[in-house]
């Protein structure tokens, strides 16, 4: 009868008879972290938690690398005169090239290696089966291969760094990308491989959510994070192949000159932009929708209150995912596509804004009359709402055709998408990391340093990007190595902000690492959440649960008692909702 009898061969856990013993008082067998210890047991693991954790390490490592390039770019822009590029190159032209490689590398790493896999692959891999009460994702081998594809893609990027860099901007626009002498092909191959990694993850999640929900968990009984990852996975599966074929053709254009994108051979560069944005606009939602899912969890759990408008949030995730496929043309309002197309794309663009607005109001309404625990995680959640509001509202400027004509390709756009991609997606990733950190590692981090770091990141972020809005609307184009003196003050403020933010992130890295070494032991439910991951020990055992959990209402949060000694929330009533 005991389902744990089917533990995989090769693992020492053959039986989990001790499941009914409290995790806090007695050791209930090894956790997924300690069950096996060899290198191979990690490198060849099929366990979603270990894969998620390896993704997390990889993504954070790449975040560091991308951050270094961001700081290089910001430092260089502190002055309109060459500042630090002369340290690396003597010739003024080579200095400008170097700057172009920096911002390209920063953009490509952050988009393809950090933000796109961040929430879905790193956090999602760890949390998704737990939220479903499942032992693993549907295809564990595919999951592992998806991780190794990510590694492979990352390796290509590292190779690009050492082979002279790439200077096309992360968009690889033709004909510049078919013309430049830099390492475009390895970079594009890297992105192509990462695309497969992304497709496999998405495919795995869709099947897992469809087929592995526990009995009793209906679609409208799922935690909203699952709605988020599901919508994201649909986009990943449907949009990424188009990027794949586009990049493949770009490689062929560069090597064989097939004449599809390069006007010199009879191709059409605007067609490339259409294809690129057909993927890359939905990709923005690959970044933001799961982030919204994370925030729905964080706000609800840390307000100890039922999420407001559950169905609205769920539906709006799906609505955003669908709309995201038909708005790509708003990246091309000035490219010379027809007037009629511009008008249609502008109209549809506004339809994406509305579900996003609804979500923001729902989160705020969730906080109303809640019992707000203003810990680090919640502060990240609230910071997200503020930053996402700015990101969304400034998106309205860019959707309005007449204004976009002025603002297109200026720093206003740069600031806007940083508010969405970093201020929202990445802040939600960091917030989710804090939210699930006790579950992942079994350790509590320092709240004191956590709050300070969060405040620094928040202040630094706004200081970096608010000046960019101003200089953008004043006419400062993006991707400029040098600029007119009148923009100097804005750039200087922005650079200072970037360093403040960097200090915040380094602080985060330190206290999180410190918690691994000497953090307090985490209870199974430190925040008072009711989704299934909080019903298993921290860190969870190899097969996630002792026994098979049954689905409960994830947002029924008022039946917990807090134990100040263990820091654990435990259920008052034994009736549950079974």
């Amino acid at each position: 009868m005991n389902p744990n009898d089917q533990a995989p061969s090769g693992s020492e856990v053959s039986s989990q008879e001790t499941a009914k013993v409290a995790p806090e008082t007695t050791e209930s067998g090894p956790s997924y972290l300690t069950v096996t210890k060899t290198f191979a047991s990690w490198a060849l693991t099929l366990d979603h938690k270990r894969i998620g954790l390896m993704y997390l390490v990889g993504v954070l490592g790449m975040f560091f690398l991308g951050g270094v390039f961001a700081l290089l770019v910001r430092t260089e822009l502190f002055s309109p005169m060459p500042l630090i590029t002369p340290l690396f190159a003597a010739d003024p032209g080579a200095q400008a090239d170097l700057y172009n490689q920096w911002f390209t590398t920063h953009g490509a790493i952050m988009v393809f290696l950090v933000i796109i896999p961040g929430v879905p692959a790193a956090l999602g891999n760890f949390v998704l089966p737990l939220l479903l009460g499942a032992k693993d994702v549907a295809f564990p081998r595919l999951n592992l291969s998806s991780f190794y594809l990510w590694i492979c893609g990352a390796a290509f990027f590292i190779y690009v760094l050492f082979s002279g860099g790439v200077d096309t901007g992360w968009t690889f626009y033709t004909p510049y990308s078919t013309d430049t002498s830099t390492a475009v092909i390895p970079a594009v191959v890297g992105v192509f491989i990462l695309g497969f990694s992304s497709i496999f993850t998405g495919l795995n999640f869709i099947v897992t959510i469809h087929k592995m929900r526990p009995k009793g968990m209906t679609w409208f009984n799922m935690p909203l994070f699952l709605w988020g990852t599901y919508s994201t996975a649909v986009i990943q599966v449907l949009a990424t192949p188009v990027l794949g074929i586009t990049l493949l053709l770009l490689i062929l254009e560069r090597t064989l000159g097939i004449g599809i994108f390069d006007p010199q051979n009879g191709g059409d560069p605007v067609l490339y932009q259409h294809f690129f944005w057909f993927y890359s606009h939905p990709a923005v939602y690959i970044m933001i929708i799961p982030a919204m899912g994370v925030i729905s969890e964080i706000i609800s759990v840390h307000s100890h209150k039922r999420i407001f408008g559950y169905r609205y949030i769920g539906y709006s995730s799906v609505a955003i995912a669908i709309f995201s496929f038909i708005v790509w043309g708003h990246h091309m309002f000035t490219s010379g596509q027809s007037t009629v197309m511009n008008i249609i794309f502008s109209g549809i663009t506004f339809s994406v804004g509305i579900p996003s607005a609804i979500k923001v109001f729902n989160w705020i309404a969730t906080m109303y009359k809640g019992s707000l625990t203003l810990n680090t995680t919640m502060l990240y959640g609230i910071a997200f709402i503020f930053l996402f509001t700015i990101g969304g509202l400034t998106g309205l400027f860019l959707g309005v055709l007449s204004i976009d004509t002025h603002l297109h390709d200026t720093y206003f756009v740069v600031a806007h998408f940083h508010y969405v991609m970093m201020g929202s997606a990445l802040i939600a990733f960091i917030g989710g990391l804090h939210h699930w950190w006790p579950k992942m590692t079994g350790k509590m981090f320092s709240e004191f340093w956590g709050r300070i770091a969060c405040t620094l990141v928040f202040i630094g972020f706004n200081l970096t990007f608010i000046p960019q809005f101003v200089m953008g609307s004043l006419g400062m184009p993006r991707r400029y190595y040098t600029y007119q003196d009148k923009f100097e003050i804005y750039h200087q403020l922005s650079t200072v902000g970037a360093y403040v933010m960097a200090v915040g992130f380094f602080m985060t890295a330190f206290y999180l690492l410190q918690s691994l070494a000497s953090g307090k032991k985490a209870p199974s439910n430190p925040w008072g959440g009711n989704s299934l991951e909080w019903h298993t020990p921290s860190p969870p055992p190899l097969e996630n649960f002792h026994g098979v959990p049954s689905a409960t209402d994830p947002y029924e949060l008022d039946h917990f008692d807090y134990d100040p000694v263990t820091g654990n929330y435990s259920s008052r009533t034994t009736a549950g909702s079974a």
Binding site: A96, N100, T168, G169, Y173, P175, Y176, P263, P269, S303, I307, F308, G309, T334, S335, G336, T339, I343, S346, G347, F350, S351, G353, I354, A357, V360, F361, I364, A365, M367, Y368, K369, G370, S371, L372, T373, L374, I382, F386, T389, L393, T394, L396, F397, V400, L401, I403, D404, T405, H406, T410, L474, G475, R479, Y481, T482, D485, D558, Y562, Y569
Partner: protein, 363 residues
């Protein structure tokens, strides 16, 4: 343009100097764009303040120690939900509508607009005035030098201004005030984008395509012209100026000067300028490739098969044949090419220079 939709914002729209957010408005579109901008701006500020205030109030009011129960578990409120769906729908439709109206005006140039061609290459601009074929450079290098000079103190602001006006005598995009001007944008190599912040106009220059933008400058002066589509090493240096002349006369006077030749140059170079200015460039290549007409590379002295009134003939390409072909283009039509060459009126001098230019391209 009238701001009937937004009387509250009229003082923003009619301002003349640069504001905190936007550069000085100096074209017919600036009022519309700025009006739209401030409409969205104030809507955004309203919601940002509202949301921030709610967040801060809730954070203070509902802050509670661990373990305390929420006072409500309510998760729906129909009126609120309808309101916060409906209001954004209405507002975003308004935004779309204003943007649409403003954009349609930008997309269609009036038929009486004066046309100028702007051609972008890495990393320079060339402006062509079809009325007399003058090709005027963007002179990005000069402007950057002046900027650097001011920066490192080797140029006083006055000296810089003086040098700039000297450069602008034969460079930059010049337009008369209060006249509709249509700019045809094109690129020779990679993508570029023509951006004049003060006019609120922008259009990508796509190789192989001709784009179009138009405006009517409302204030004489000198304004920035920038490239906003990433084009490589010199992207941030593709900086030129727009000069708005205070009258049609002063513009025409400038154009005459700009169109004149610097006769101290060698004849071949002058011939190349003619080749560009007079549009020979669009049909005759210099690199041996066949366009609508025969290439000029190695043309001089070669044997040319032609058809004259349906009778085949041949001749060596020499001074006389070149002059005849320019003056009477449809007389002898080279075999393999359509007889499409228009009559381009060149002066004797220009014909001489062109001939020397063709000679210099080898036999």
């Amino acid at each position: 343009m009238m701001h009937f939709f937004n009387p509250l914002l009229s003082h923003w729209a009619t301002q003349t100097g640069p504001s905190f957010w936007l550069p000085a408005p100096v074209s017919n579109f600036a009022d519309t764009v700025d009006g739209d901008f401030y409409f969205v701006y104030w809507v955004s500020i309203f919601f940002l303040v509202l949301i921030t205030a709610l967040l801060v109030i809730f954070m203070m009011k509902f802050k509670a120690p661990e373990g305390q129960k929420a006072t409500s578990q309510n998760d729906h409120n129909l009126i609120l939900e309808v309101a916060w769906t409906g209001i954004p729908v209405i507002l975003s439709f308004m935004m779309f509508w204003y943007g649409y109206k403003g954009y349609v005006a930008m997309a269609t140039a009036p038929s009486n607009a004066m046309t100028v061609t702007a051609e972008a290459s890495r990393w320079l601009w060339n402006f062509t005035y079809p009325t007399n074929g003058a090709v005027v450079p963007g002179a990005s290098e000069d402007f950057n030098e002046i900027r650097m000079g001011v920066r490192d103190g080797s140029l006083t602001p006055e000296a810089a201004a003086e040098r700039e006006s000297k450069v602008l005598e034969k460079a930059g995009l010049h337009v008369p005030v209060n006249t509709p001007v249509k700019i045809k944008v094109m690129a020779t190599d990679v993508l570029h984008s023509l951006f004049i912040p003060a006019f609120r106009v922008k259009k990508d220059c796509v190789p192989g395509r001709i784009g179009e933008l138009w405006f009517e400058a409302t204030e004489p002066g000198v304004y920035d012209l920038l490239c906003t589509e990433y084009c490589g090493q010199g992207h941030s240096l593709m900086h030129s100026k727009v000069v708005v002349h205070e009258s049609q006369e002063s513009f025409e006077k400038w154009l005459e000067v700009a169109a004149s030749y610097d006769e101290t140059l060698p004849f071949e170079q002058l011939g190349e300028i003619v080749w560009k200015r007079k549009g020979c460039v669009s049909c005759h290549s210099l690199d041996g490739s066949n366009k609508v007409g025969p290439t000029w590379q190695g043309a001089f002295g070669s044997l040319r098969q032609y058809t004259e009134n349906g009778v085949a003939g041949s001749t060596t390409v020499d001074e006389a044949y070149i002059e005849e072909s320019i003056r009477y283009p449809m007389k002898k039509i080279a075999d393999g090419y359509p007889g499409q060459m228009p009559v381009v009126k060149l002066t004797d001098k220009e014909i001489l220079w062109v001939t020397e230019f063709i000679k210099s391209l080898g036999k």
